[in-house]
C-alpha cells in the first residue's frame, strides 16, 4: 500500500460480553479507497464510531499522522483530520440545507464565532459543494424536507466540506437511485485523487470491487481477510462468512 495516513493497532471494544471489535489492526493509505465489508454485526460501524470518538476504546491505539492515541474524543476527530457520514443519516434536521454546510465551514472557537458572520467565501464554498451533489436548488429548504437520497448526498457534502484527510463513509450508497450513486462515486473518486484516505463501508460487493483499492473483511469484530479486492472477494472463507455461500 502507499503512504499510511491512519493506522489502528489491537483496537478493542466490547459491549458487556459481546466483543464488537477484537484486537483489530489495519492500516489505511493516503490516496486510496479501503472497502470495509462484513456481515451485519461484524463491527464495521463500531469501528467508525471508535475512529471518530463517538465510542470510547477499550484497548489498542489509533495512530494518526504519527500521533499515537489511546483515547479519542468526538471533538478531536477533526483535529486529526477525520470525518464521517452516518449509517442512519444524522443531519441538523430543522436547519436549512445551506446552514447544514455552513456549520462545518465556519469558526469553531466560541468567542470568535460570536463575532463571525458567514461571508462570501463561506457561501461560495457551500454553493460549490452543494452543486457538486446537485442540491444547490434546495439550499433554502429545511433538511428534513429532503428526500432520503438527497439527505444522504447532503451528509456526504457536509463531510467533504470539512477538509479532512480521512473520510469514513458508512453505507453511502444504501437506498440511492442510480443517478445519485453516480454522484457519490464521483465524490469518492475525487477524494482519492486529492490524496485522502477513504474508508467505505458497503454491502454491495460489486461497488466494492469497482471502487476499492484495498478491502478489509470483518467477522465478529475480528479481521477475517484483507488485500486487493479481486483476491479477497474470491476467498472461500470470505464468501462463507459474508455471502453465506
Amino acid at each position: 500500500m502507499e503512504e499510511n495516513i491512519l493506522e489502528i493497532k489491537r483496537l478493542t471494544k466490547h459491549f458487556g460480553g459481546v466483543h464488537a471489535v477484537q484486537n483489530l489492526s489495519v492500516v489505511f493509505a493516503r490516496g486510496a479507497i479501503t472497502g470495509i465489508i462484513g456481515p451485519n454485526g461484524s463491527g464495521k460501524t463500531t469501528l467508525v464510531n471508535l475512529l471518530t470518538g463517538m465510542l470510547p476504546m477499550d484497548g489498542g491505539v489509533i495512530v494518526s499522522d504519527g500521533a499515537t492515541l489511546r483515547r479519542m474524543r468526538a471533538h478531536e476527530a477533526r483535529f486529526y483530520g477525520i470525518t464521517r457520514t452516518f449509517q442512519n443519516i444524522r443531519l441538523f434536521e430543522q436547519m436549512t440545507v445551506l446552514d447544514n454546510l455552513l456549520v462545518v465551514l465556519t469558526e469553531r472557537r466560541v468567542f470568535a464565532s460570536l463575532f463571525e458572520r458567514h461571508g462570501a467565501y463561506h457561501l461560495k464554498k457551500a454553493e460549490a459543494l452543494l452543486r457538486q451533489v446537485g442540491l444547490w436548488e434546495k439550499h433554502n429548504e429545511l433538511a428534513l424536507h429532503l428526500s432520503y437520497g438527497q439527505r444522504k448526498l447532503l451528509e456526504i457534502a457536509r463531510a467533504i466540506g470539512t477538509d479532512a484527510r480521512v473520510f469514513l463513509f458508512d453505507e453511502p450508497f444504501a437506498g440511492l437511485f442510480p443517478e445519485m450513486r453516480e454522484i457519490v462515486k464521483r465524490q469518492l473518486e475525487a477524494l482519492r485523487e486529492q490524496g485522502a484516505a477513504v474508508l467505505l463501508i458497503e454491502h454491495n460487493t460489486e461497488l466494492i470491487r469497482q471502487l476499492s483499492d484495498y478491502v478489509v473483511v470483518l467477522d465478529s469484530g475480528k479481521l477475517l481477510a484483507e488485500g486487493k479486492p479481486e483476491s479477497v472477494l474470491r476467498r472461500r472463507d470470505v464468501l462463507e462468512a459474508y455471502l453465506g455461500e
Partner: protein, 292 residues
C-alpha cells in the same frame, strides 16, 4: 393611561425573560426550568443594594448581572453532565435550591418577609440628580433594556455562534465530530441568558419596590417557558409576542365582570388552556418554525 403603562412595563420585563430563555431553550434545545433563579438573583442583588446600602441602581444592576453570570457558570457546569429529561430534572432541582436560599437566608434576604422599600433608579449628571420615579420614565428604561436585549439576541442568533447553538439542539454528538466542543457553547449561552434574566429581575425589583421569594418559584420558570412556547421557539420576535399576549390576555378578564378571586384562578386556567390548544393546533408556536 397608568394602567397601559403598567402593562407595558410588565410586558417589557417578561419579554426580556422570554428572549433570554429562548436563547437557551429555543435555539440551543436545553430545556431549563431554572430561569427564575437568575431572575431572582438580579432582583435580590438590586433590592439588597438599593434598600440596604443606597447603592445606585445601575451599579446594583451590573453587580446582579455579574453574580447571575457566576452562579450560571457553576450551575451550567453541573447541568452539562446531563441530557434530555435528566437536564430538566436537574435544572428543576437547582431552581428549588436557589429559591430555598432566598427563602431561608434571613439575614440577607429577610426570608419570607421579603424586602420592601426598594427605590426607583436615579440618574446623576454633574450636580443634577434625576429619579425615574414616574411610571412613564420607568417604562422608557424598561423598553430601552428590552431593545438592548432584543438586539443582543439577534446579534447572537445571526452569528456563526447562533448557528452552532441550533446544531447543538438538532444533534449535539454529530456536531462534535465536526470539531466543536459543544459544552463551551452551552455554558456560554446559559451564562448569557442568565445575565439577561438578571436585568429583568433588577427592573422588576425596582418597579414593584418589594420582592419576596414567591416571585422566583418554579412556577415563574414554567410561565417563562409558556411565553416562548406560545410565541414560538427559536424566534426572538415570537418571545416578545408571547410575553405581550400572556401579560395582556388575562387582564381582559378584569373587564368580564368576574369576582377578583375567581378572575385570579381563571388566569391560570387560561394559561393552561392556551398551551394545550397550542400543542394540538400549532405545536411550533405562533411565530416559530422549530418544534420541541
Amino acid at each position: 393611561m397608568e394602567y397601559v403603562i403598567h402593562l407595558s412595563i410588565v410586558s417589557g420585563i417578561v419579554a426580556i425573560l422570554g428572549m433570554s430563555l429562548n436563547l437557551i431553550v429555543g435555539y440551543t434545545g436545553l430545556l431549563s426550568v431554572a430561569h427564575a433563579a437568575f431572575y431572582g438573583i438580579g432582583a435580590y442583588v438590586t433590592a439588597i443594594l438599593l434598600a440596604g446600602f443606597g447603592v445606585n441602581f445601575f451599579l446594583a444592576l451590573l453587580l446582579g448581572m455579574a453574580l447571575a453570570a457566576a452562579v450560571a457558570l457553576l450551575i451550567g457546569l453541573v447541568l452539562s453532565r446531563f441530557d434530555d429529561d435528566y437536564y430538566v430534572l436537574a435544572s428543576l432541582g437547582l431552581n428549588i435550591i436557589i429559591y430555598s436560599v432566598f427563602l431561608n437566608w434571613n439575614t440577607l434576604t429577610r426570608g419570607p418577609l421579603g424586602i420592601p422599600g426598594i427605590s426607583r433608579p436615579e440618574l446623576g449628571i454633574g450636580g443634577y440628580r434625576f429619579g425615574l420615579t414616574s411610571n412613564f420614565s420607568f417604562l422608557v428604561l424598561t423598553l430601552l433594556c428590552a431593545v438592548l436585549v432584543y438586539l443582543a439576541a439577534r446579534f447572537i442568533t445571526r452569528s456563526s455562534f447562533g448557528r452552532v447553538l441550533m446544531a447543538i439542539r438538532e444533534d449535539e454528538q454529530a456536531l462534535q465530530v465536526f470539531g466543536y466542543r459543544t459544552v463551551y457553547y452551552k455554558l456560554a449561552i446559559f451564562v448569557i441568558g442568565a445575565v439577561m434574566a438578571a436585568v429583568a429581575g433588577a427592573l422588576f425589583a425596582s418597579y414593584i419596590t418589594f420582592i419576596d421569594p414567591t416571585s422566583f418559584m418554579l412556577r415563574e420558570s414554567i410561565f417563562m417557558l409558556s411565553v416562548i412556547i406560545l410565541g414560538g421557539l427559536a424566534n426572538t420576535n415570537g418571545a416578545v409576542a408571547g410575553a405581550v399576549i400572556l401579560v395582556v390576555l388575562p387582564e381582559l378578564l378584569r373587564f368580564v365582570g368576574l369576582p377578583s378571586n375567581i378572575a385570579a384562578q381563571m388566569r391560570l386556567l387560561l394559561y393552561g388552556l392556551a398551551l394545550v390548544l397550542l400543542m394540538i393546533y400549532r405545536p411550533q408556536g405562533l411565530f416559530g418554525k422549530y418544534r420541541l
